[in-house]
Amino acid sequence: MSLTSASTAMTVTTPVHSLLVPFPAVCFTLALLTDIAFWQTGHIMWQNFSAWLLFAGIAFGVISGLVGIVEFLLRSDRRARGSVWLHVVGYVLVLGLAFVNNLVHAGDGWTAVVPYGLILSAATVLLTILVALLGRAVLHRTQTRSERS
């Protein structure tokens, strides 16, 4: 029973990939918080935190993505394509947004965060949540369908 549900979950993610995938999500979320802190205080430290968090998020995001591709290709069971594609597209979009945000944060001074950096940080977090929720919904549907058959 528990084995079945675990293997179903793997149709969406993959073991090492699923271990790494929280890194970018956490980094980008914290970057939003440090951006807000910079916006409110003007203290350079927070801006530097944001820049490193976004950088770490991208770095782990890319590593995790590559691992995910390898794991997906190695796997014999490739059911539930729909939910995999949702995950892939969502993942690429989040990373793309975060990459742009990295570039914005690489600017100098106040305008590297306010307003565009802050907006992009918020958008990245929102998109991450959205993709996670959609993924959950699709997974649920797939699961129900596969249980019926």
Binding site: W39, Q40, G42, I44, N48, A51, W52, F55, G82, W85, L86, V89, G90, L93, G96, L97, V100, N102, L103, V104, A106, G107, D108, G109, W110, T111, A112, V114, Y116, L127, L134, V138
Partner: protein, 514 residues
């Protein structure tokens, strides 16, 4: 599918965002509009990916030289130097070549610093191979005044990234990256064995972003003027890092006491007194990442006590939105510079040609060494230009004098400091090409007497058997602070970031509403 439709939309959205943030490159912009007293300043653009184009250093082949107009000839004065940045002529005609590398140990504060550092190392030719020892001062002596170096001595070695030098009364002053040092040195000496005294500490590391400290001696010989560049592009390391920086300091030669003479100058170099008016001039590198045609570097006379805008504004009241919190009170005070040299040329050297042996069209004006751009898609600078003067003020367009430092996308060399040698010819320190170039009139004329870079005429000073001056005296007092003749303001301007006058109480509360 729903999800892919959503995805496609988002991709397009990101694409539009990218395109709009990237901004367009004004390749059709006429850069000559930014040369002169009243430059055209386009609207700033925020570039998502700042334009970066650095010329890889190729070096000079044996027979290659930069190009000069027909009325001039150019020869290699000294080769096989190690990053020569400043050339300085002593009153007896000996030439000092200051060679230096950027100090190490600059902390990496942001991911950008790593990536930027890697790209920049390309531009300075730090590629493979064992590096030769730099950070030295070499003396070049042309004993028979034929424009060729007859003797060469390494005068000082193992310095801490030196840049400016000055000499007066048996003392050689060297501006290292963190202090003005004073060496006992009589003209004609070919070596220095005495230990230096610290005349005045200057803002140094560990960041020391703009580390080149230039020096000039006031015409009356009483003061040294030292340039102290900013610690950042536009105060992005915080104002605390800018204490005493982006300024020109005035240093009492006898006591070492220092004060800020002028401030708000992002990266001033090439300090020189105009020989006719006795006014201090400098060239300044302005800020980056506002677009390919902002902000023009400039040459300006330096008014005592004046604030020139950095970091809050440029060219008077053009506010830089990147600096927070804004300081409209200081923007209001900001003085506009005298003469724009166009954007990102990286002007680092300045010398007046008055009294040189150069032909008539170059007899009354300023030569400026332009190290060359990185923050543009098309190169700018990488040459020595001449700005004609009248009555001690710029009068006319800058014209290219020494060119050919670029070959396609590679740099054979990059000009930095300039000077007039002991025969009245122009010298150019080429830090990437490891050469000092000599540009003389094609007519072969030389001046009757050597004239020092600080305006001293050889004959007038050689009789000097001066008693030990300031530095020695100050040193005997141990660690006691130098006895300043004037009471410094409280707190000293040199301790205020950046070096503007202290705030009044009502300015203290910064506007905090985002």
């Amino acid at each position: 599918m729903n999800s892919s439709a959503f995805g496609a939309k988002a991709i397009v959205g990101t694409g539009i965002l990218l395109a709009s943030l990237a901004g367009c490159d004004g390749t059709d912009f006429d850069v000559s509009q930014q040369i002169g007293p009243d430059p055209v300043l386009p609207e700033p653009t925020s570039e998502l990916m700042p334009d970066m184009k650095v010329a890889e250093v190729a070096g000079w082949k044996d027979d290659q030289t930069p190009a000069v107009p027909d009325s001039l000839v150019i020869t290699a004065y000294a080769k096989d130097l190690v990053n020569p940045r400043t050339v300085h002529t002593l009153p007896n005609g000996d030439v000092l070549v200051v060679q230096s590398r950027e100090p190490s140990g600059k902390p990496i504060e942001r991911p950008k610093d790593m990536i930027r550092g890697w790209i920049m190392s390309m531009a300075h030719g730090d590629g493979g191979g064992a590096e030769k020892e730099s950070n030295l001062v070499t003396l070049l002596r042309d004993t028979n005044r034929d424009g060729k170096v007859d003797e060469r001595h390494d005068l000082l070695t193992g310095l801490h990234s030196p840049f400016g030098v000055a000499w007066r009364d048996g003392t050689l002053y060297v501006a290292a990256a963190d202090a003005v040092l004073a060496y006992s040195y009589q003209l004609g000496q070919a070596e220095i064995t005495a230990e230096p005294q610290v005349l005045t500490p200057l803002p140094g590391g560990p960041i020391n972003h703009h580390w080149t400290k230039d020096l000039a001696l006031s015409p009356d010989g009483r003061y040294l003027y030292a340039s102290v560049g900013s610690n950042s592009n536009v105060a992005e390391r915080g104002l605390e890092a800018e204490k005493g920086r982006a300024a020109i300091w005035q240093i009492d030669r006898q006591t070492g006491a220092a004060r800020v003479f002028a401030s708000g100058l992002r990266n001033p170099n090439g300090l020189a007194f105009h020989p006719e008016t006795g006014v201090l001039w400098t060239v300044v590198n302005e800020r980056d990442e506002l677009g390919p045609n902002l902000v023009p570097d400039f040459m300006t006379s330096v008014q005592e006590g004046a604030f020139y805008g950095w970091p809050w504004s440029y060219y008077g009241a053009h506010v830089d939105e990147r600096v927070y919190p804004p300081r409209p009170d200081l923007v209001e005070k900001a003085v506009a510079p005298d003469y724009a040299l166009s954007s990102h040329v990286a002007a680092l050297g300045l010398i007046f040609s008055n009294g040189s042996a150069l032909p008539e069209p170059f007899a009354n004006g300023a030569f400026i060494g332009e190290h060359g751009s990185w923050n543009r898609n098309t190169f700018n600078g990488y040459k020595v230009v001449y700005v004609p003067f009248e009555n001690g003020r710029p009068a006319g367009k800058a014209q290219d004098v020494v060119t050919g430092f670029l070959e396609g996308d590679q740099a054979r060399g990059r000009p930095v400091g300039v000077a007039i040698d002991g025969t009245g010819a122009l010298l150019i320190a080429d830090d990437a090409g490891n050469t000092v170039w000599r540009v003389a009139g094609a007519d072969g004329r030389v001046t009757p007497n050597p004239v020092g870079t600080d305006g001293q005429i050889g004959a007038a000073v050689t009789s000097e058997a001066a008693p030990p001056t300031g530095p020695e005296g100050a040193a005997s007092g141990g660690s006691a602070p130098p006895a300043a003749s004037a009471t410094p303001p409280e707190p000293p301007q040199t301790e205020v970031a950046p070096a503007v006058l202290p705030r009044t109480a009502d300015e203290g509360a910064s506007p905090r509403q985002p």
